[in-house]
């Protein structure tokens, strides 16, 4: 088991945003976390990432307890986080944005499996021509790619991607999907929060459905397909 979160309870002030949330991700697996707005999907990710501190519960990553650790420690343990709203650094150039993702500031060129700037450019060719452009000047889709690329520069073993296709054009949505599929193929596990059910279904091996602040349903894609009640209860508006 790569990631194992058990019985997480997180609060925003007095409101109980996450109730006994549990999930796990196997090595090389794509897991989708689905549910309607405001159910706690992003909260789950933030809690795992250490951006929010759970009051109780446990997060084990690769056999190590990372519960409530500072985000940079979680990141160094091997979790890459691609947040909602993309959150690139608007005042930094494309290249600097990518370099921000490098842990320790230096790219280890001795290891062939490591992500380098060159590899990122191969994957996202548009960046090559715009290395010195400020992040703020990129389009939404490009910013999304940049965020993913930036996270990849840290060589994560697990990528947590929050709503990557939100607000993108259909062409861009497809491109993001393809990128994620390719990343998965390269052996990186993915935990995905996605509104676009089609994209999610096409990528995921398993799904978790969230009700208000808690886990509603869990199973493989096939099991979800076979369970219209769960879909009605947790997904349809």
């Amino acid at each position: 088991m790569l990631l194992e979160a058990t019985n997480l309870n997180t609060y925003y002030g007095e409101s109980h945003a996450l109730q006994d949330m549990s999930l796990n991700v196997e090595d090389g697996e794509v897991v989708a976390l689905l549910g309607r707005n405001g159910m706690g999907k992003s909260t789950t990710m933030k809690t795992i990432m250490g951006l929010l501190k759970p009051r109780s519960g446990k997060v084990i990553f690769d056999g190590r307890d990372i519960t409530g650790q500072r985000p940079h420690k979680v990141a160094r343990a091997g979790i890459g986080y691609v947040p909602e709203e993309r959150r690139i650094f608007p005042n930094l150039s494309v290249l600097d944005n990518l370099m921000m993702g490098v842990k320790g500031g230096k790219v280890d060129t001795s290891n062939a499996n490591i992500w380098t700037i060159e590899k990122i450019f191969e994957r996202f060719p548009f960046m090559r021509d715009r290395t010195n452009q400020k992040g703020a000047l990129l389009s939404g889709g490009e910013q999304q790619m940049l965020t993913i690329g930036r996270t990849l520069m840290g060589n994560p073993r697990l990528l947590m991607v929050d709503e990557p296709t939100e607000g993108l054009s259909p062409v861009m949505v497809k491109e993001v999907r393809d990128v994620l599929a390719a990343i998965c193929k390269s052996g990186i596990s993915i935990l995905l929060v996605e509104h676009n059910l089609k994209v999610a279904m096409s990528l995921a091996d398993r799904v978790y459905l969230m009700g208000k602040a808690h886990l509603g349903f869990t199973g493989t894609i096939a099991e979800l397909d076979a369970n219209p009640e769960a879909r009605a209860k947790y997904l349809e508006v």
Partner: protein, 290 residues
């Protein structure tokens, strides 16, 4: 140069010198706010503390240069300790908490200064090499004020080089716009915070030492300069070094030419400038982030 032109040029130089002092103070303030969202109301107190430390180092060693080296560093270390052991702990309670905490800290420092050094004005001499005037084209100008302008420029250039040419600078610039994200990328942001806080207070310390020989060192030293630096940060835009530099110089010039032409209104000009800018750009001239 005829005497009238010389007077105007001299006023411009005064404005520049005061503006650079303001910049030294404001740059730390604006970086700290930009990165951490902390309105450090103790910032000007560090400026005052450093002036006292400067006095003390000179009293012990007789060397202004040693004071210029040591006093800001000690001030910076105290700043680091403040960040590490107090501010970091209250971060979770929001900005008002940090604000009140820095007010508390500034009061404590102010009183401690009085316990150690008393309340009388203390003298600091200009070092011998920097005494006197330099004459050029009919204009006499104090060497020490030129030194202040020069020193500030050097610090400004070094600061810019670090910010725009090093990885550390990149991290700082990134953290100004989104500190949490930088943390989530595996960079130890609390450590960077502590460093920036230290550098910020160090620069306040340099400003304190630089101004000590012009002013007597007394407990109320921080009040006016502190408020002016605050205006610079607000008008320049939180987190914007360029904004701080530009507005600091504008404020310095408003100050000196204000005295020259509309003496009675001189202190009001800066506030009117601030009010006008903020009405049209509530986040300041170069502020972006809410």
């Amino acid at each position: 140069m005829d005497p009238v032109t010389a007077m105007y040029v001299a006023q411009g130089m005064h404005g520049l010198a005061y503006g650079m002092i303001l910049f030294l103070l404001a740059s730390g303030l604006t970086l700290i706010f930009g990165m951490m969202g902390i309105l450090n109301l103790a910032h000007a107190t560090f400026f005052m503390l450093s002036a006292y430390l400067c006095y003390q180092v000179i009293a012990w060693t007789g060397s202004f240069w040693l004071a210029l080296l040591i006093a800001p560093i000690v001030t910076g270390i105290i700043g680091v300790l403040l960040e590490r052991f107090l501010l970091r702990k209250v971060h979770a309670f929001g900005h008002i908490g940090e604000l009140i905490l820095t007010v508390g800290v500034s009061l404590v420092i102010l009183e401690s200064v009085k316990v150690f050094w008393g309340t009388e004005s203390l003298p600091v001499q200009i070092p011998n090499v920097l005494q006197g005037l330099v004459t050029a084209g009919g204009l006499d100008y104090p060497i020490y004020r030129l030194f202040i302008i020069g020193l500030s420029l050097v610090i400004l250039i070094v600061l810019m080089l670090i910010l725009y040419k090093t990885r550390l600078g990149m991290v700082v610039r990134a953290a100004v716009s989104d500190a949490d994200m930088v943390d989530a990328l595996g960079i130890n942001v609390p450590l960077v915070f502590m460093l920036v806080f230290g550098v910020g207070t160090w620069m306040a310390g340099v400003a304190g030492v630089a101004i000590a020989p012009i002013l007597t060192v007394f407990p109320g030293l921080a009040d006016q300069v502190g408020m002016d630096a605050f205006i610079v940060v607000v008008v320049g835009g939180f987190g914007s070094l360029g904004g701080a530099l530009l507005v600091a110089i504008i404020c310095g010039l408003l100050n000196s030419y204000g005295v020259q032409f509309v003496s009675q209104l001189a202190p009001v000009l800066m506030y009117i400038f601030m009010a006008i800018v903020l009405v049209f750009k509530p986040m300041g001239l170069f502020g972006e982030r809410e």
